[in-house]
C-alpha cells in the first residue's frame, strides 16, 4: 500500500492551526512598564473592607480605601485621613480632626458625615465584620461635631494603642458614603469599593485578577505605576514561574524550598520580610485522655526537646525566627523572656522522669499549606519528641476547614493532645496577640485552644487592655508573657517570615510586619 499523502498535509495543517493560538498576540502576559503585575495565591472572596478576613486581600483593598490612621512599617499609627486625634481626660471619648478638602474618587466629599456613615456601618451589630474587634462593644456612638471633626463616645475606655490600632485597620476604612447608603445592597456587601486611596478599582474578574488604576486626584504622593494588576494564581510553583519568566514583577509566598535558588538568581530579589505570626503546637493543658499534659514539667520537657534552630534552617530554609517569647518581637508589648527553651534533650528526659511521665503518649495534628512548611516542620517536631522517648502518634493532617473543626472545639470535645497553629495579630499590639491566653477566649468564643487558665495572666491582660500609660502597659504584658512562657501551654516554635519575590526590574516593594505587602510606591528600577 502506498503511503497516503493527505495524512502529511493534514498533520502539518493541524499543527499550524494548533500553533496559531500564539500568532499575532506576541508574548502574552509580558506587559508594558506602566503596569505592575503581582501574583497572589488567594482569590478575593469579597472586596468589602468591612468583611475582610484575609490579609492579602485586605492589602489590595487598602490601596483603594484608607482609614483614619495608618500603620507604618514599624507598626506605629500615623495620621492618614485624620490629621490628629485627642482623647478626653476621662478616656470616654475621642475627637478626630479630618484631613480637609479631600474627595472620594467618585467626587463625593470626604467629611465628618462620611466618617459617621462608614463607622456606623462597620459597628452595626447586624453587619458582618469579623475583624472589627473590641470597638464594636466599646464605642457607644459616632457623632459629627462639624464637617472637619468627628467624635467617638465610648461605653468603656480602651487603651490608646488598641483604639488607634483598630481604627487604622481595613474594616474601618472609608468608603464613599454614596455607595453604602443604609437600606441599599451596598450597605450589607460592597463589591465596588470607592475610596480616597492612591488607586481606584478598575476591573475585577473573579478567579482571575483584580485591576487597579492610579487615582490621579490622590491627595498624597503619586504612585509610579499607572496600573497594578493582582493576578490570582493558586499554585505556588506557577506563581514562582510568573516572576522568573518576567510575566509578574512581584509574587507573594513562593515555595520556601526554592528560596536558596531564588536568592542566587540575579534577575529576582527575595525579601524575607519580618512577620508577626507565631507558630506553635498548642497543648491541651486540661487533657482528660492524657492527664500528664496538665503537668507544667511535662510541657516544659516537650519545649526543651525541640531543635528549633535546625528545623528553621533545614525545613524552613531560614524563613523564620526562633521564638523568644509567646509573641513576635514586632508586636508592641513584646519582651524577651529570660529563660529561652534551648534545645536540651537531656534536660527534657530528666524533666519527664521527675514528672513520672516517661513513656508519655501524645497524638498530634498539623495543617498542610497553611503556614510555611507546616506539615513538614510538624514531622520534625514529632521526631524530636520521639528522640526523648515520647510516643508520638501522628502528626495527622487534614484540609483547613476540617482542621479548624477538629481543633477549635470546647475542651470537652477535644480529641487531640497537641495541634499546630499560627497566630498573627492584625495590628501590632499585644492585646490581640495575647488574647489567645485569655480563658474567656476558649472555644467556641475564640482561639484559646490550649484551654490555658492562669488567674495572674488573665488579670494582667485585663488591666493592660485599658491601661492608659504605655510603659505600664508594656510592663504588664511583659509579666504576662513571662508567666505564659514558664507555664508552657504551647510548644513554642518560631515566628515565620513573609517571603516576597520580586523582579530586579522594580524597586520600592515593601512590607509591614502584619504579613502585609506594600506595592503602592513600587517603581521601575
Amino acid at each position: 500500500m502506498r503511503p497516503p499523502r493527505w495524512i502529511g498535509v493534514v498533520l502539518v495543517a493541524g499543527f499550524l492551526l494548533a500553533g496559531c493560538g500564539t500568532c499575532g498576540t506576541g508574548p502574552g502576559g509580558v506587559r508594558q512598564t506602566s503596569v505592575l503585575t503581582v501574583a497572589i495565591g488567594v482569590d478575593p472572596d469579597t472586596l468589602d473592607p468591612m468583611r475582610q478576613t484575609t490579609t492579602t486581600v485586605a492589602n489590595i483593598v487598602q490601596m483603594v480605601v484608607e482609614a483614619l490612621g495608618r500603620v507604618d512599617q514599624t507598626g506605629k499609627v500615623q495620621p492618614n485621613l485624620a490629621t490628629a486625634w485627642q482623647e478626653a481626660p476621662d478616656a470616654m471619648s475621642w475627637t478626630f480632626t479630618l484631613r480637609a478638602g479631600l474627595r472620594f474618587s467618585d467626587g463625593t466629599p470626604f467629611d465628618a458625615a462620611a466618617v459617621k456613615t462608614n463607622l456606623d456601618r462597620s459597628l452595626d451589630p447586624t453587619s458582618v465584620c469579623p475583624n472589627c474587634g473590641a470597638l464594636t462593644h466599646a464605642v457607644k456612638s459616632v457623632d459629627v461635631i462639624d464637617p472637619g471633626h468627628v467624635r467617638l463616645t465610648m461605653s468603656m475606655p480602651l487603651a490608646a494603642d488598641v483604639l488607634l490600632g483598630l481604627i487604622s485597620t481595613t474594616p474601618y476604612s472609608m468608603l464613599s458614603p454614596r455607595t453604602i447608603q443604609k437600606g441599599t445592597p451596598g450597605y450589607t456587601q460592597q463589591e465596588q469599593p470607592v475610596g480616597t486611596g492612591p488607586y481606584a478599582l478598575k476591573q475585577r474578574v473573579k478567579g482571575d485578577h483584580v485591576m487597579l488604576a492610579r487615582n490621579d486626584d490622590y491627595w498624597g504622593r503619586r504612585p509610579a505605576f499607572a496600573e497594578q494588576l493582582f493576578r490570582v494564581v493558586p499554585d505556588i510553583a506557577t506563581r514562582e514561574a510568573l516572576v522568573r519568566s518576567g510575566q509578574a514583577q512581584v509574587t507573594l509566598l513562593p515555595p520556601v524550598s526554592d528560596i536558596p535558588s531564588l536568592q542566587k538568581d540575579a534577575t529576582v530579589r527575595v525579601l524575607l520580610a519580618s512577620g508577626d505570626r507565631s507558630v506553635f503546637f498548642a497543648l491541651d493543658t486540661v487533657d482528660k485522655q492524657q492527664p500528664l499534659l496538665q503537668n507544667v514539667q511535662v510541657r516544659q520537657a516537650l519545649n526543651y526537646a525541640i531543635n528549633r534552630d535546625a528545623i528553621v534552617k533545614s525545613t524552613l530554609f531560614g524563613a523564620a525566627d526562633v521564638a523568644s517569647a509567646p509573641m513576635a518581637s514586632s508586636v508592641f508589648g513584646y519582651c524577651q523572656v529570660p529563660n529561652p527553651y534551648q534545645y536540651n534533650p537531656d534536660q527534657a528526659r530528666s524533666l519527664l522522669q521527675k514528672a513520672n511521665a516517661t513513656g508519655l503518649t501524645i497524638n498530634l495534628v498539623a495543617p498542610t499549606g497553611r503556614y510555611l512548611q507546616d506539615f513538614q516542620a510538624a514531622q520534625n517536631v514529632a521526631n524530636d519528641l520521639r528522640a526523648i522517648g515520647v510516643n508520638v502518634q501522628g502528626p495527622r493532617t487534614m484540609d483547613w476547614p476540617s482542621y479548624v473543626g477538629t481543633v477549635v472545639v470546647p475542651s470537652a470535645k477535644a480529641s487531640v493532645d497537641g495541634h499546630m497553629l499560627g497566630w498573627a495579630p492584625q495590628y501590632l499590639d499585644a492585646s490581640q496577640a495575647m488574647q489567645i491566653f485569655d480563658p474567656s477566649q476558649m472555644p467556641p468564643r475564640g482561639l484559646a485552644t490550649s484551654y490555658y487558665d492562669n488567674g495572674t495572666v488573665t488579670g494582667l491582660l485585663q488591666k493592660a487592655l485599658v491601661e492608659p500609660n504605655r510603659d505600664t502597659r508594656a510592663q504588664e504584658y511583659c509579666e504576662a508573657e513571662k508567666q505564659v512562657w514558664n507555664d508552657a501551654p504551647w510548644i513554642f516554635l518560631w515566628v515565620q517570615k513573609f517571603p516576597i519575590v520580586y523582579s530586579a526590574t522594580v524597586t520600592g516593594i515593601g512590607s509591614v510586619p502584619t504579613e502585609s505587602f506594600y506595592t503602592v510606591y513600587a517603581q521601575p528600577a
Binding site: 492551526l17 502574552g28 469579623p130 473573579k206 478567579g207 499554585d235 519568566s245 510575566q247 477538629t406
Partner: protein, 306 residues
C-alpha cells in the same frame, strides 16, 4: 427522534435528583463548620451564629434538604456562602472559561489523536506505529499537574513565548489547553488505531480497493467513517473527563473556570456552590451522552431512534 430526546431528558430527572441528594449529603458529611470558615477564626461566636442563621444552616437537615429541592425545581441554586452572590450568577460568569478550555482541549485531542491513530493504523507494525503507541501510553500516564509545570518551564520561563497563568490575553489558553488536551490524545489515538484496523480488514474495504477507488478515498469515505462510532463515544466521554481534569489544570494555570471554583468552594465549605457545580457537571455528562447518541445517527445511517 424528538420524542426520543424528550424521553431521554425525562429519564435524566431521577438521575439528577439522585446526584442532588448525594451531593447534599456528602457536603454535610465533611467535617468543619461553614459559618466558622466564612466568618474566619477571629470572628466572635455571635457573628458565627448570625452567619449560620443567614445561611439557613441552623435549620434541621430535612428542612434544609426540602428547601434545597424546592429551590432546585425553580432552578434557584441559592446564594454562595463564600462570595455572597447567587450561585447561578457566579457559575454563569465562570462557565465560559471552562467551556472554552474544554473545547480547545477536545479539539487538540481529537485532531492529534485521530490523525496519530490513523497514521499508526495505516503504518501498522512500523517504527511510526511504535512511536505513536509509545507517545500515547506516555500521554495517558502523565500526571496533568506535572505536565502543566513542564510546559510552563519550557514555554514561559525558558522560551518566554507563552503566559504561564491568566485568562486575560488570547495566548493564555494555549498552555492549559495543551495540558488538558494531551491527556486525551493517547486514548483517542489508540481508539482510532484499533477501530480503523478492524474496519480496514473488512471485505468492503478490499472490494473498494479492488474496484480502483483511490487510497485516500478508501481511508476517508469507507474506512474512517465506519470506524468513527467508537471514536465519537470516546471523545464524548473525554469531554466529561476534561471537565474533571479542568480542576487540576485550572489550578495550575490560574484559569478562572468552574473546576477551580469547585475546589475553592470545597475548601471554603460553600455548600450551595458545591451542590450547584456538581449538578452542573452531572447535567453536562447527561447532555454529552445524549449528544453522542444523536451523533451516531449522522455517522451511521443504520442507527435509528424512534
Amino acid at each position: 427522534m424528538l420524542s426520543y430526546v424528550g424521553r431521554r431528558l425525562l429519564a435524566a430527572i431521577p438521575t439528577l435528583w439522585g446526584v442532588a441528594t448525594a451531593v447534599f449529603i456528602m457536603a454535610r458529611l465533611l467535617p468543619g463548620d461553614p459559618a466558622r470558615v466564612i466568618a474566619g477564626v477571629l470572628a466572635t461566636q455571635d457573628q458565627v451564629d448570625r452567619l449560620r442563621w443567614q445561611l439557613g444552616l441552623d435549620q434541621p437537615l430535612p428542612v434544609q434538604y426540602l428547601d434545597f429541592l424546592g429551590r432546585l425545581v425553580r432552578l434557584d441554586l441559592g446564594t454562595s456562602a463564600h462570595y455572597g452572590d447567587s450561585v447561578t450568577g457566579e457559575i454563569a460568569s465562570r462557565l465560559p472559561y471552562t467551556a472554552e478550555l474544554a473545547f480547545a482541549a477536545l479539539a487538540i485531542a481529537v485532531v492529534v489523536g485521530v490523525l496519530g491513530g490513523a497514521a499508526a493504523a495505516l503504518r501498522r507494525n512500523t517504527a511510526i506505529d511504535l512511536a505513536i503507541s509509545a507517545v500515547s501510553v506516555v500521554g495517558i500516564s502523565m500526571p496533568t499537574y506535572w505536565l502543566g509545570l513542564m510546559l510552563i518551564i519550557v514555554f514561559a520561563i525558558q522560551l518566554r513565548v507563552l503566559p504561564a497563568a491568566g485568562a486575560d490575553s488570547p495566548a493564555g489558553i494555549v498552555l492549559p489547553a495543551l495540558t488538558l488536551g494531551l491527556l486525551s490524545v493517547g486514548l483517542i489515538a489508540r481508539m482510532t488505531r484499533s477501530s480503523l484496523l478492524e474496519v480496514l480488514g473488512q471485505d468492503y474495504v478490499r472490494t473498494a480497493r479492488a474496484k480502483g477507488v483511490p487510497p485516500s478515498r478508501v481511508v476517508l469515505a469507507h474506512a474512517l467513517r465506519n470506524a468513527l462510532v467508537p471514536i465519537v463515544t470516546a471523545a464524548g466521554l473525554q469531554l466529561g473527563a476534561l471537565m474533571g481534569g479542568a480542576v487540576v489544570t485550572e489550578t495550575v494555570f490560574g484559569w478562572p473556570g468552574v473546576g477551580r471554583l469547585l475546589l475553592d468552594s470545597i475548601f471554603s465549605r460553600d455548600y450551595p456552590m458545591v451542590q450547584g457545580l456538581v449538578l452542573l457537571f452531572a447535567v453536562t455528562y447527561i447532555l454529552v451522552n445524549l449528544l453522542v447518541d444523536l451523533l451516531y445517527v449522522a455517522i451511521d445511517p443504520r442507527v435509528r431512534y424512534i
